[in-house]
C-alpha cells in the first residue's frame, strides 16, 4: 500500500469517527464524561466504576453460562457439573463468573467505606449515596440468588435460611414468601433464576444510571489489573461444585463469605428474622441516613470523629462476625454441635469489640492535633530508554505468562491456566501504565521546549 492510500484510509476512519461522535450528541451517552487519566490516580476514587466494570464482566460471562445452565430442580446441579467438567472452557467461564461476583461484592464494600470515610455523601451527593447503598444491597441479593442456582447443599442451606426469615417477617412475611417459593423447589429455582438473570440486574442497571456521577474515570491499567485479580483468585481458589443437595444427608455447610456474618448470628441462636433481615436492615438504614444526620461541612475522616468511629466500629462488627461464621468446630461429634456458637460468648465478644473500637477511634481522633501534611513525594520519572527497557522486559514476562496459560490449558490444568492469565493481565496493566507514563513525560518535555 502506498503512503497515499494509507492517508486516505486514515482520513476515512477519522471522518467516520467524527460523523459518529456528531450523531452521538443526540443521545444520552454524551451526558457521561469519560476520563482516561494520563497518569496514575488512586483507584479508591473510582472504585464505583471498577465495580460497574466487574458487573459488565458478570453480565457477559453470565449470559454465556445461560447457554448451558438449566433452571430445573433435578437438572440444575447436573448442568453446572457439565459446564464445569465437560463444556470446553466452561470451567473457566464459570470461574470468571464466580470470582467476578465475589470481587464485585468486595469492591462495592470497599467503595462504600471509602466514600463514607471521605465524606463523599455530602456536597449534594445524597442521591448518589442513597442509590449506591441500595445498589449494594441488590448486589448481595444478586450474588445470593446466583449461588443458589447451583442447587448444591450450600445453596439449599441459603435458600432455607432465606425462606425461613421471609416467612417470619412480621405482617407481610407469609404473603411474600410464597411468591419466591411458588409450589415448591421446582418453582423456586425458576423464580430465583428469573430474579438473577433479569429482574435484579435490570433494576441495578436502572439504578446505576442514576448512581453514576457525570464524570467517569476509565483507567485501563487498573482495569487490566482488576481482571488479573479475578483470574488469579480463580486460579488459587477454584470455584467448587459442592455436593448435590440430598435431603437424606446432613452436611456441615457454610455460606458464601458475604453471608457468614448473618450465619454467625443464626448459629448463636438469634431468631431468623432478626439475624437475617432486621440486623442487616439496621445496618443498611444506618448508612442510608448518614448524609441526613451528618450535616457538618467537614469532609475528612479526621475531622468527623463520631462518624469515623461509627464506621470503624461497623467494620469491626462485620469483620468479626464474618470470620466467626466460617469457624466450624470439627472436634465436636454432631453437625449441630460443630456449628453451635455459644451466645453469651458471641454477643459479649462482638459487643466488646464493636464498642471498644468505637471508643478507641473516637477518643484518638478527638484528642489528636492536626499535624502537618507530609510533603508530596516526588514522582518517579522514567527516561525514555529506561521505559523502553522496562516495557520490553514486561512484554517478555507477559509472553511467558501467556505461554504458561496456553500450556497449562493444553495439559488440562485450567486453574493453573487462569493463574497465569491473571499474572499476564496484571503485568499488562503495568506495561500499559509505563507506556502512558512515558508518553505523558515526553509530551511534557515537548511542551517545555
Amino acid at each position: 500500500m502506498s503512503s497515499n492510500n494509507i492517508k486516505n484510509v486514515k482520513e476515512l476512519v477519522n471522518s467516520l469517527w467524527k460523523w459518529t461522535v456528531d450523531r452521538l450528541e443526540r443521545t444520552t451517552i454524551v451526558v457521561f464524561k469519560f476520563t482516561v487519566p494520563k497518569q496514575y490516580v488512586s483507584p479508591f476514587g473510582y472504585l464505583g466504576t471498577l465495580t460497574a466494570i466487574v458487573f459488565a464482566i458478570l453480565g457477559v460471562s453470565g449470559a454465556f453460562l445461560m447457554f448451558y445452565y438449566r433452571p430445573d430442580v433435578e437438572l440444575a446441579f447436573l448442568s453446572v457439573q457439565e459446564i464445569q467438567e465437560k463444556v470446553p472452557f466452561g470451567y473457566i467461564m464459570r470461574n470468571i463468573h464466580y470470582h467476578a461476583s465475589n470481587l464485585m461484592v468486595l469492591l462495592a464494600v470497599l467503595h462504600l467505606y471509602y466514600q463514607y470515610f471521605s465524606g463523599r455523601y455530602k456536597i449534594k451527593n445524597e442521591v448518589l449515596w442513597v442509590t449506591g447503598v441500595i445498589l449494594g444491597v441488590l448486589t448481595v441479593l444478586e450474588a445470593y440468588t446466583g449461588y443458589n442456582l447451583i442447587m448444591n447443599q450450600r445453596a439449599l442451606l441459603a435458600v432455607n435460611i432465606g425462606m425461613g426469615l421471609t416467612y417470619s417477617a412480621p405482617l407481610l412475611g407469609p404473603t411474600i414468601a410464597p411468591i419466591f417459593l411458588g409450589g415448591g423447589l421446582f418453582d423456586l429455582i425458576i423464580r430465583f433464576y428469573a430474579l438473577h438473570v433479569f429482574i435484579l440486574p435490570l433494576i441495578m442497571l436502572l439504578l446505576a444510571v442514576v448512581h453514576f456521577p457525570r464524570a467517569l474515570v476509565i483507567d485501563f491499567p487498573i482495569i487490566s489489573a482488576v481482571v488479573g485479580v479475578i483470574f488469579i483468585s480463580a486460579g488459587l481458589f477454584p470455584a467448587e461444585l459442592g455436593i448435590r443437595f440430598d435431603l437424606t444427608r446432613g452436611v456441615v455447610e457454610v455460606p458464601e463469605w458475604y453471608l457468614t456474618a448473618i450465619y454467625a448470628f443464626l448459629r448463636a441462636g438469634t431468631e431468623r428474622f432478626t439475624a437475617g433481615a432486621l440486623l442487616p436492615l439496621l445496618f443498611v438504614i444506618l448508612f442510608l441516613i448518614v448524609p441526613f444526620v451528618d450535616r457538618s461541612k467537614k469532609l475528612s475522616w479526621r475531622d468527623r470523629p463520631f462518624f469515623t468511629a461509627l464506621g470503624v466500629a461497623s467494620i469491626a462488627l462485620v469483620a468479626i462476625t464474618t470470620v466467626w461464621g466460617f469457624y466450624v468446630d470439627f472436634s465436636k461429634e454432631t453437625a449441630f454441635d460443630q456449628l453451635y456458637i455459644e451466645p453469651t460468648l458471641f454477643y459479649g465478644l462482638i459487643g466488646g469489640v464493636t464498642l471498644s473500637s468505637f471508643y478507641v477511634t473516637y477518643f484518638y481522633l478527638s484528642r489528636q492535633k492536626r499535624g502537618q501534611r507530609p510533603p508530596p513525594t516526588r514522582p518517579i520519572v522514567l527516561s525514555s530508554r529506561a521505559s523502553a527497557v522496562l516495557m520490553t522486559t514486561l512484554l517478555i514476562l507477559v509472553a511467558g505468562a501467556v505461554a504458561g496459560t496456553f500450556y497449562t490449558y493444553s495439559i488440562n490444568l485450567p486453574n493453573h491456566s487462569m493463574f497465569y492469565l491473571g499474572v499476564a493481565f496484571i503485568l499488562f496493566g503495568l506495561l500499559l501504565h509505563i507506556y502512558r507514563h512515558t508518553i505523558s513525560v515526553e509530551e511534557r518535555q515537548k511542551g517545555a521546549k
Binding site: 410464597p178 411468591i179 415448591g184 435431603l247
Partner: protein
Amino acid sequence: MPPRRLLLRGVLTAALVAVVSPFVHVIDFFYRREAEGVKRQKIANMRDLTPGGFIYFSYPQTGDPKIDNDPFRQFVLIMTEDGQLRVYSRVCVHLWCLPSYIQTRRQLICPCHGSIYREEDGVAIEGPAAYQSYPTNALPMGKIEVDGNGDIWMVGVDGRIGYGREWHNIKPDELVRRV
C-alpha cells in the same frame, strides 16, 4: 381551582382508577394456589392401615413426576398405636431434609442432623429443630377427612411447609374430620 376543573379532574381520576383496577388480580399470578392445599385428594382407605402403619404420599398430586417428587409435596400418613390418624409434612423444619417415620420408635427422625418429632403432634423434641423458637419447631400437618367408606382424604395443610406450625392454637385431633 375552579369547580369545573375540579370536576374534570375527578372524572379523569375515576376513569383511570377504573381502567387499572382489574390489575389487582395480577397478584394471583405470583402464587400457585393449588400448592397451598385447597385440593381434596384421596390418600388411602382405613383398611390399608393398621396401628403403627404409615404411608408416604405426595400432595397435591398433579401427575407430573417432577412436581410430585418435590420435597414440599411429601407427606406421611400415620396411624398411631391407639388408632389416631396423623398427616405430617416430611420437610424437616430445620434445614429441609426429609425425616422418615420410624415405626419401632413411633417418631419421625430426620437423617440430616437428627431432629426427632413426636408422632402425636409433630413437635420436635430433640435435635436442632427442637431448639428453634415456636412456631418453627413443629412439622406442618395435613387436614384430613374420613368418609363413610373409610376413605381418607387430604383437604389442606395446617402450617407452612419447611417452616413450622402454630401448634398451640390447633390441636392435632381438630385436623381430622369424620364426614
